[in-house]
Assembly symmetry: C2
Homo-oligomer: 206 residues x 2
Amino acid sequence: MRKISDATITRLSRYYRSLARLERKNQEMVSSKELAQTGGATSVQVRKDLSCFGQFGTRGLGYPVCQLKETIAHILGLHRTWNVALVGAGSLGAALISYKEFKRQGFHIVAVFDKDPAKVGKNKRGLIILDIKNLPEVSRELKIDMAIVAVPKTEAQSVVNLLVQAGFKVILNFAPVNLMAPPQVTIRNVNMAIELEALSYRLMAN
Amino acid sequence: MRKISDATITRLSRYYRSLARLERKNQEMVSSKELAQTGGATSVQVRKDLSCFGQFGTRGLGYPVCQLKETIAHILGLHRTWNVALVGAGSLGAALISYKEFKRQGFHIVAVFDKDPAKVGKNKRGLIILDIKNLPEVSRELKIDMAIVAVPKTEAQSVVNLLVQAGFKVILNFAPVNLMAPPQVTIRNVNMAIELEALSYRLMAN
DNA sequence: AAAAGCTTGTGAAGACTTTCACAACCTGCC
DNA sequence: GGCAGGTTGTGAAAGTCTTCACAAGCTTTT
């Protein structure tokens, strides 16, 4: 299998959402053109993206909504649930625990960690905050697959080091800082400030 | 001026952060190589990115830290403050109000709106929640420059319509849904679920 | 059964980004 | 001054991603 670009994977997620909506509307078939419009892409792009994984459509008809949705779910790993650890029980952490879309797509936050002794033991949206020291054992016991980092930027690197040591292979980081990790560990960054800065640039440029 | 790619702007933001850190360490000069390492890029990329806007370095020496930081600040519009409206006073909204990095970079959330009458009038982290009906006037009065959408995905499109009508030109959207807007309006999406899905794909692939 | 109307799948072209390679230039040392 | 060591700035090459163009194939109509 040739390498799939990150952009393609991101678009697949969007197609998946569009397909889910079409499924709720009981639409049976969808053309690449229609899927493109609701997914913010072009019809060729939809077809090219899908062609990376096989041939799922019928010429003249389009793609079967349910079936294509299931196919994408399997490609992205959405047909199963994933256990997620959240590190950082601040307000962003709280928001992430409550974030419905995670649960909807099968991402279950099953443990929250913090290093602040004042927080450890407290209940946060239904989860007991655990001491970050126990992260390695708890992760093993609960079979946690991925981690979300939502700590202040000063703490982020040490948290990542701990996660790497504990064997985590993928990490979603919300701290606005560039993190170092060995190449076999994938870190994705959500940097909300950078997003605003790109918008501010847009306002400056016009 | 030729078109600047989005990737370049995003990297400039990262360089800016690295420069700020070097400035705190009182480092005077920095080479593209060093800037690249801390900013997660290559040295050539740093130089190419900067060369879009002018020549800021000295051969053999590198770039003056403070001066380059200021230059980037001006390019990105970080030398001034921006007034930001937040729509959606849920837990994500609360987290965004408290998010320090926004304030640090000059993005001030000066108003929070919600459509829920039960929330309107309440205090959220120091801000009184306003009725979304008043968004147009309040935005004009407070000279609000940009908007953040942090409402459930079912509400997002109607909120965006309202924002567009009120004259907003740039919007940062956190709702996990594809939004439609006229071409002169820039929408940036932060879709946390899609980020996790990309990670889940990574776990599937290996 | 042939034609018309759609739509997929894909090689090739085009556009955009990144990387390479190197001239140009600065500083410090001999 | 001249040389060594280091770094920028940039045209060109390489690589990646997107768009174009069109054959292939399905369904409906006549």
